[in-house]
Symmetry: C2
Subunit: 332 residues, 2 copies
């Protein structure tokens, strides 16, 4: 049986383009014992994929040239030679950008579509939601009344961070790149203030104005000059969860910025870089809290769904232009 797959055709220099991808036909192998045949339903595109397009050693393995891109995929079981899965089951896993594919039973988990739509397992109940949960709760340890700033606030992680911080009684300021996103943050997600970094001339002052008691917690999804501006407003004993650094991902050389270590010393600042996988053994705790908050209506969620398997490369490139609001998903 023939299916379609999207492979990495070449490694990007700087910002990736459609020419770095290639859609091609592929043959589907037979299902062996312990395996299932899957049909992809929803495919996740995420900022961390940019790093995997490089050859460099990173926290996740590089994609291989002429091999399919892999990422979070929700799929339905169409044939099973596993005792754990039956035809019609919905599953999630780190899987290839193929329309149909074979997977080992060890690489997929069943999902429960009765508590949330299947695509949520690529977002708020998946990697981005868990990243927000563990980065904020475990690393930053927010206390009620503290001020939390989130950059990339309208992204898949940021919008969850801000809402959890509100649930925990904090004042929350989001930084995002369009007035539409600002409205969403304040009106839909309950952020106290939001700052448009593209139209604000003095972002350091804008943060100071929005945070009259200074910044206790900074959840950093972007890095670069936006982060510098937040850092100058930190309080003593501030905590920074260093999550993504999307502003730096497409740089071919290491960008330069101010050395702010003296400030970190004088204010006793703690910075923790992390990837969500560090907390893998505690995922059930995170999913439990997130699902509960969704159920009682305290945690809202937005997806940008792009239609068509062949749109996957375009959707991924769109992340770096800020075209998504919330989690970016491609529906096959």
């Amino acid at each position: 049986m023939t299916t379609q797959q999207i492979v990495l055709a070449s490694r990007p220099q700087g910002t990736p383009t459609l020419a770095n991808f290639r859609t091609e036909n592929a043959e589907l192998a037979e299902v062996k014992p312990g395996e299932v045949a899957l049909k992809g339903l929803y495919y996740s595109v995420d900022p961390y994929m940019r790093g995997r397009m490089n050859d460099a050693k990173s926290y996740v393995q590089s994609f291989h040239i002429d091999h399919p891109i892999t990422g979070g995929v929700v799929a339905t079981v169409v044939e099973s030679k596993s005792d754990n899965f039956k035809t019609g089951d919905l599953v999630v896993g780190l899987l290839p950008w193929r329309k149909e594919f074979i997977a080992s039973e060890r690489t997929i988990q069943k999902i429960d579509a009765t508590i949330a739509p299947p695509s949520y397992y690529l977002g708020i109940l998946g990697m981005p939601g868990l990243t927000a949960y563990f980065g904020l709760v475990r690393i930053c340890k927010p206390k009620a009344g503290e001020t939390v700033v989130v950059s990339g606030a309208a992204g898949a992680v940021g919008m969850v961070v801000g809402q959890i911080a509100k649930i925990l009684g904090c004042r929350v300021i989001g930084i995002a790149g369009s007035d539409e996103k600002l409205s969403l943050l304040k009106e839909e997600f309950g952020f106290d203030e939001a700052i448009n970094y593209k139209t604000t001339t003095d972002i350091r002052k804008a943060i100071a104005d929005a945070c009259p008691h200074g910044v206790d917690i900074y959840f950093d999804n972007v890095g670069g000059e936006i982060s510098d501006a937040v850092i100058y407003n930190l309080n003593n004993h501030a905590r920074i969860a260093l999550c993504g650094q999307i502003s730096l991902y497409n740089n071919e050389k290491v960008a330069m910025g101010p050395r702010l270590q003296s400030l970190f010393v004088s204010k006793s600042v703690m910075i923790q870089g992390f990837i969500v996988g560090n907390y893998q053994s505690d995922y059930p705790e995170g999913i439990h809290h997130l699902a509960e908050w969704i159920k009682i209506g305290k945690l809202k969620y937005t997806e940008t769904i792009v239609h068509g398997f062949d749109q996957l490369p375009t959707a991924l490139l769109g992340l770096f232009k800020g075209e998504n609001t919330g989690k970016m998903i491609v529906k096959a």
Copy 2:
């Protein structure tokens, strides 16, 4: 009664000079109830004093123009109107650069010269020793077998950090600025390797060579390019205690350096800026361990003692030229 004092004559632009200080006569007031008259024995000069010479808000108050410099001083009680102190007692406190002075009983602590020489209470049993202890033990949580790199390794803090790390079973690499210091680190203090940052052309490679299993802990006393070189050699889940940033103290503008946050994310690095005062309630624990290690001969200590009260400004300026080995002390 007339005594002598050293005041801040002017605020330095960049590196301080002797012209920023002035020695002058001062009148000694009467001793009031609850006060003691003290004669200074040993005066501490420390890198953090550079920050206090500025007008800027820092973690310690600025020195005032035309007022005496203040710092750690060991003194002897020459007259007491306090129930807690008697003539002849040895005390330590944050006190003025004066030959004789009056102090409130609340600003001084008695010291025990039977467990260590009095000057040790300005160093290994004082602020630098406690900085090393809490920065390494509390922040970096070393495990036996891990690799620890210390910059400013031959300084008052660094040489204690390295020795504690050895006591705790780590491999220890020190970075310092002269071959004499390197010999001291390896032969006197038991460091496994030492690197001369002034004569090494590729410090990043030198660290990689000295740390075949990578760097788990970095105790950063200097900042700047030396720190960059260490950071490129960090292992996953590395910890950085951000103590001093002496390479940056004399810069009038914020220095620029590479943005290394992506590396902190991908390797889940933790960075904690701190000042020793954060651990004030636990000082007795630190003094207990340090004194015990000294007593059993596991912890060695080196002082550079400069003679003459009037040499205080010169001794302080010497810190920024790397003229000290170990703790720099002025004996009146």
